[in-house]
């Protein structure tokens, strides 16, 4: 029977190609628009490390002065140098890493390639383990070199290919801000979206940095933070040494806590740390600290911003209008076929049979609408990626979204068909036959 209805359905759709095309197009537009908006939200709102995000945490401490204090305010996004060094020294948690942004100059020594600025990151060997950074060549520097502030560097695949082509550059010297650094590793293709580890300073869809230098080396070279620095109080101590002692927050800190117990221990530790610092004359505000896991951190930083949410709302509003529209068109179509329904009912078709026949027809419309929607989503995502996300190449449709698009179209069309189908099933054979 299903195949028969399918045949009836396609035949009826072909009988009125303009109306059918209109329904398919409208449904396709609605589905395409909403799936485009949804995909962007899905990508930005995704979990970049689903298997580990519950174990990675960002501690926040409030080192502000009493002036400008508003109870209930969140602590700053970043830590001061003093707190970073204390937390590193206490070495709580399974692993920990501190990072801050750099913009060093790279001199390749090649005549055809004048020195250039390159986005960089001061970090620790633990960074590459905690965030499971894949390596193409070599690997991270070793921890002993790190403590000595050694001149070693990890570079991105992109920078490596720009400088050395497709050869393995590990062991070579790279000149950074007029000093030689030994290349210990080249990161393979790695682009976490959102770029969770450094949301503040570069944004959620930025590519990774290209030069990774040991934290202690960057401090020894007196490299200032290239990013967001927030100071409270005023320090008159001159130079970089004065900057390190000031209550300026510019370092982002991550800690890995493997289980619930270590999380609660770490919270206690932060509380005790705050009390201890207060005794030393720092952190005058009432105890105010936070410990957020990766997903909470993404939400706290509003990675999915108001614009993106609003666009999604409006896109689904658009789909709703399209649905109501299709309801109207189906009503028109089915009403016009009252005579045919009357004959079928008179010949013994039950109401259920009529409902089934017309549902099959709406499913066929939905399937075609889904295909149109799929094409439009691809087109829409290409536009959004190119102009909205700066050619990040991240707003892509995956298999689950592909199925979701078609499913959305079919479900939409069936929903739209419910009322018209029900109305069609109400046709009384006698009335129709009489008026013929």
């Amino acid at each position: 029977m299903f195949r028969y209805y399918l045949k009836l359905g396609t035949r009826s759709l072909r009988r009125n190609p303009f109306l059918t095309a209109l329904m398919v197009l409208i449904l396709g537009f609605g589905v395409g628009t909403s799936m485009t908006a949804f995909t962007v939200m899905h990508v930005l709102g995704g979990d970049p490390m689903p298997h580990k995000s519950a174990r990675l945490f960002v501690p926040q401490l409030d080192n502000g002065s009493m002036e400008g204090y508003t109870p209930g305010d969140d602590p700053d996004f970043q830590l001061s140098y003093i707190d970073t060094m204390n937390l590193l020294k206490d070495a709580r948690g399974k692993e920990r890493t501190a990072i801050y942004g750099l913009a060093p100059t790279i001199d390749s020594g090649r005549a055809d390639l004048p020195p250039f600025f390159e986005p960089g990151l001061a970090t620790m060997a633990s960074f590459f383990r905690m965030f499971e950074v894949p390596f193409r060549y070599g690997g991270a520097w070793d921890e002993s070199a790190e403590r000595e502030g050694a001149f070693v560097v990890v570079i991105s695949r992109e920078l490596s290919e720009r400088l050395y082509g497709d050869t393995d550059p590990t062991g070579k010297q790279l000149r950074i801000d007029d000093r030689d650094y030994r290349i210990s590793g080249v990161i393979d293709d790695w682009r976490p979206v959102p770029k969770f580890y450094r949301l503040l300073g570069t944004g959620a869809i930025s590519p990774i940095e290209h030069v990774f230098v040991p934290f202690q080396n960057a401090i020894a070279r007196e490299w200032r933070n290239n990013g967001w620095t927030n100071c409270s109080g005023s320090s008159r101590e001159p130079g970089f040494a004065g900057f390190l002692k000031a209550e300026c927050n510019w370092i982002q800190y991550w800690v890995e806590l493997p289980d619930a117990q270590s999380v609660s221990e770490y919270r206690d530790y932060l509380g005790a740390y705050h009390a201890e610092q207060q005794k030393l004359g720092r952190m005058p505000r009432p105890a105010n600290f936070a410990l957020r896991d990766l997903r909470e951190w993404l939400a706290f930083n509003e990675v999915v911003d108001a614009d993106t949410r609003l666009q999604t709302w409006i896109a689904f509003g658009f789909l709703l209008v399209c649905l109501v529209n299709v309801i109207g068109l189906l009503l028109a179509k089915f009403t016009a076929r009252g005579g045919e329904i009357g004959v079928r009912r008179a010949l013994g078709a039950t109401r259920m049979e009529i409902v089934r026949q017309y549902l099959v027809e709406t499913v066929v419309i939905g399937a075609f609408g889904g295909m149109v929607g799929l094409g439009l989503s691809y087109f829409g995502l290409a536009i959004v990626d190119k102009y909205g996300l700066g050619e990040a190449g991240i707003a892509r449709m995956d298999v689950s979204l592909l199925f979701a698009t078609v499913a959305l179209a079919v479900v939409s069309s069936v929903l739209a068909g419910l009322l018209p189908t029900w109305r069609a099933a109400q046709v009384t054979p006698a009335m129709q036959l009489k008026s013929q």
Partner: protein, 412 residues
């Protein structure tokens, strides 16, 4: 007017009325709110910066070898840049309007305040930013050579009091209603040890490096100040203003003067003010385009829905129309009947839509921090939908008017 027969016809076709009214209502709610958001974004993206934008650019250079005497270097750079043909003014500064990178500081109206009065973008220049950016001085004076304070590389800011030039927006926010701002004290930061500054000049406008909404500067896009600091730095930023038409040539000349092979320098940014504005508001403009496209499609879909339903009604009532024509109704009467019917159905949708628009606006307002939907926007949406409804209904109405009176005598 045949309102009563129209109403009783519609009462017998509730589903059709519902379908059209629902579309109109949803469309109105979306369109009115999108208009509002789009207008807000465009206003922001086109808000004047106070800068002579067409003739101004920035160039920042960095060093890959240690810099021995930054002051001597920048004096040489300034002289070289001033010698470029077509260049009128050059200033070294710490930050550039709309460049999305820079400093801002909290300022207080009185010493010892516990909370800052406002955040303000903190521009520093030992030269004249008024000249280099083409700012309009509305009160007081520009800095004189004697006002300039040199700060060694990495050195702390000076203790007050020192002179500052502020924007009118800063006066309005920190000293509301103040008519005589010249000579007033302004404090950097909070508490008893806040540094004192003296306002010596007021400029009409100078936008911050971020434009409006960013880093605690929400709705304070023009709250800026300039301090007369000349800071030793190994990555100086120069702001250059040229004669009309000389910008492109001057940008190229500046680059080749400041960065030469082997001089130990790296080019940072070399961008015109127009490019900075474009980059700053690219996202907003994209959102405007996206929303505009969606709204356009939405209106087309709604119009097609109205057209389809009106056609259906005409087809169903061919006989009735024939009878009316046979009984003496003119073609115009028939057209008017269908347009009035559409006006009523659209009107039902509009009434519901106004309610929906305000409901959606509550969401928009809380998400984007916008104020309540202004009535004129809603009115534009209302008029637009009525017009679209009438246009969409016209073709079927005209077709209905062409039905021959003889139709009444035939059986369908």
């Amino acid at each position: 007017m045949e309102i009563k027969p129209i109403l009783s016809t519609l009462m017998r076709n509730k589903t059709g009325v519902f379908v059209i009214a629902a579309q109109v209502a949803l469309t109105l709610a979306i369109v009115a709110n999108v208009f509002y958001i789009v207008r807000d974004r465009l206003n922001e993206a086109n808000r004047p910066s106070g800068v002579d934008e067409d003739n101004t650019f920035m160039i920042r250079v960095g060093a890959y070898r240690p810099v021995i005497d930054p002051f001597a270097d920048s004096a040489r750079d300034l002289a070289a840049l001033r010698a470029i043909p077509g260049v009128i003014h050059v200033a070294e500064a710490n930050q550039m309007p709309l460049s999305q990178s820079g400093n801002n500081s909290g300022v207080s109206a009185a010493r010892g305040q516990q909370q800052i009065s406002s955040s303000a973008a903190f521009y520093e220049s030992g030269d004249s930013l008024i000249d280099a950016l083409g700012l309009k001085l509305v009160a007081g004076r520009d800095f004189a050579a004697a006002d300039v304070i040199e700060i060694a590389a990495g050195g702390p800011p000076p203790e007050g009091p020192y002179p500052v030039i502020v924007t009118q927006a800063l006066i309005d926010k920190v000293f509301p209603g103040e008519q005589q701002p010249i000579g007033k004290a302004l404090y950097l930061g909070t508490g008893p040890n806040a540094d004192e500054m003296r306002i010596i000049g007021v400029v009409a406008a100078l936008t911050t490096p971020w434009g409006r909404a960013s880093w605690g500067l929400a709705n304070a896009g023009d709250v800026s100040m300039i301090a007369p600091f000349r800071r030793g730095t190994d990555s100086p930023l120069y702001i250059v203003r040229t004669e009309p038409g000389a910008l492109d040539g001057a940008m190229k000349a500046a680059e080749s003067l400041l960065v030469t092979p082997g001089n130990g320098r790296v080019l940072g940014n070399n961008r015109s003010m127009n490019e900075l504005r474009e980059r700053r508001y690219r996202g907003d403009r994209f959102m405007v385009g996206l929303m505009g496209t969606m709204t356009g499609l939405l209106l087309v879909v709604t119009a097609s829905g109205i057209l389809g339903m009106a056609s259906l009604w005409v087809n169903q009532r061919r006989k009735q129309i024939g009878v009316r024509r046979a009984l003496g109704a003119t073609r115009f009467d028939i057209v008017r009947y269908y347009l009035t019917e559409n006006f009523i159905v659209t009107g039902i949708g509009i009434v519901i839509g106004i309610g929906l628009a305000f409901a959606l606006n509550a969401v928009v307002a809380s998400e984007l921090g916008l104020e309540r939907l202004p009535l004129p926007h809603l009115l534009v949406g209302v008029v637009l939908l009525w017009v679209i409804g009438q246009l969409a209904a016209y073709a079927p109405a005209r077709r209905a008017s062409l039905i021959a009176p003889a139709t009444a005598t035939r059986s369908v």
